[in-house]
Symmetry: C2
Subunit: 223 residues, 2 copies
DNA sequence: TAATTAGTTGACCATTCGGTTAGTCTTGCT
DNA sequence: AGCAAGACTAACCGAATGGTCAACTAATTA
């Protein structure tokens, strides 16, 4: 079966059986590793556990990924690249209220629906970002700088009240991510067992209302 | 030397030499353990490392704390009790602007000045709070409910705009704690190596401005 | 002071883990 | 078919770790 996929240079190539098997096993292992790393953490996840979850011999895991750290890095990279698609690119021409509201909504939904990934990322940062440091410097930072510029342009144009753009972004990131990382605490305090759609809605509304009002904006209507 | 200290019931007692030694060694070990757990995490902190840091034989560590988990729990408990003193108790009679502003200021300072403790706490929650679950249910929850009531009273009295009090509190917690947990990311994005007093000030101002304005309040003057 | 209790410690152990190796099997190519 | 390259795997290994134990010392008490 001649399948088609994107190689690292982005050109489409036909893969022979070996390459196909390789790809299949890699994603198989990445899936197992991601699930385990994100629930147990790096140290409590043993290579043999990953192997068992993926139903392959342990040595096979080390065959595809030279060592445990390597596999962990690969998992993180895949998560980061997966997040890239959702990262709304703001531009100075956008309406701040609409843009920020949509962004907050998106981040709340991701936090509530994929909390494990968020937690894995947070753990990595808390540890000092040993594997993602380069990614933060080379990928996140330029993107961050760009957003800062946009927000500053909004301020200069009088579209929103003057606030330090960095701290505004941190507020959005932290208050949305909170529902993933602190899920355990939230559930205890709220006496809940899971997030429902109505929770996601009310979280989005609450955060949006405070932040947008704080910026002198109105919360846009739902379309 | 007849020293005096508070026992668990809060009554002052004279301790003989053995009890004194016991207390001294316990805090010695707790200090070493806290420093290591908060920088290396639970699994990468070995009992022998703690022993080395405290300059006592490894077996002595296990003598005072039955096992590693026990010691870890003790460290967490001590941190939580230490935070208790700083937790401003709000009351419905307080001026919301003043009270919230002071609370935000306090939390930002703690996050920037003692980030390791905050990170240890966050890690515990991310892991599902295996050791602090009871504390959250029995200590934090009642306190949380109380604050919720106060905020709701403010809303009912028309002192602040209507917002879900829970989500408001989460916003304050998350946006202040962020500077501890995500310190690594913040430093990379801001091209900094440490928080300075001016940073603490500007963080406090930014967060306060957005949240208080979002609640229809003015940021109070510094006294 | 004698006896009992508590503190201290080096040596030791079972287990687990990440990683290696040596050898077998499968696939693709000529 | 035959061969080289890559896929696969059982068995093994050294290192580290949490925890135990028996022996020894110091302090408290009767």
């Amino acid at each position: 079966m001649g399948e088609v996929c994107m190689d690292t240079e982005g050109t489409s190539v036909k893969m022979n059986k070996k390459e196909l098997v390789r790809k299949k096993n890699q994603t198989l292992l990445l899936d197992a590793a991601e699930a385990l790393f994100s629930t147990l953490g790096y140290d409590r996840t043993s290579v043999s556990l990953i192997a068992a979850k993926a139903k392959v011999p342990k040595a096979n895991v080390l065959y595809y990924f030279k060592n445990k750290e390597n596999l962990y890095s690969a998992v993180l990279e895949r998560i980061m690249s997966g997040w890239g698609v959702g990262l709304v690119d703001l531009s100075a021409e956008d309406e701040p209220a609409q843009a920020l509201y949509q962004y907050i909504r998106f981040k709340v939904r991701v936090s509530c629906e994929f909390p494990a990934q968020s937690r894995l990322f947070t753990t990595e940062i808390i540890r000092g970002a040993p594997h993602l440091g380069a990614h933060l410097r080379e990928q996140t930072r330029p993107w961050f700088r760009n957003i800062i510029t946009v927000i500053q342009a909004w301020i200069d144009a009088g579209k929103i009240r003057p606030v330090d753009p960095s701290h505004l972004l941190y507020m959005i990131w932290s208050s949305t991510q909170y529902y993933a990382d602190y899920q355990t605490e939230v559930f205890i305090l709220e006496n809940k067992l899971e997030y429902e759609d109505s929770d996601i809605e009310s979280i989005t509304q609450s955060i949006s209302k405070v932040i947008l009002t704080g910026l002198g904006l109105e919360v846009p209507e739902l379309n």
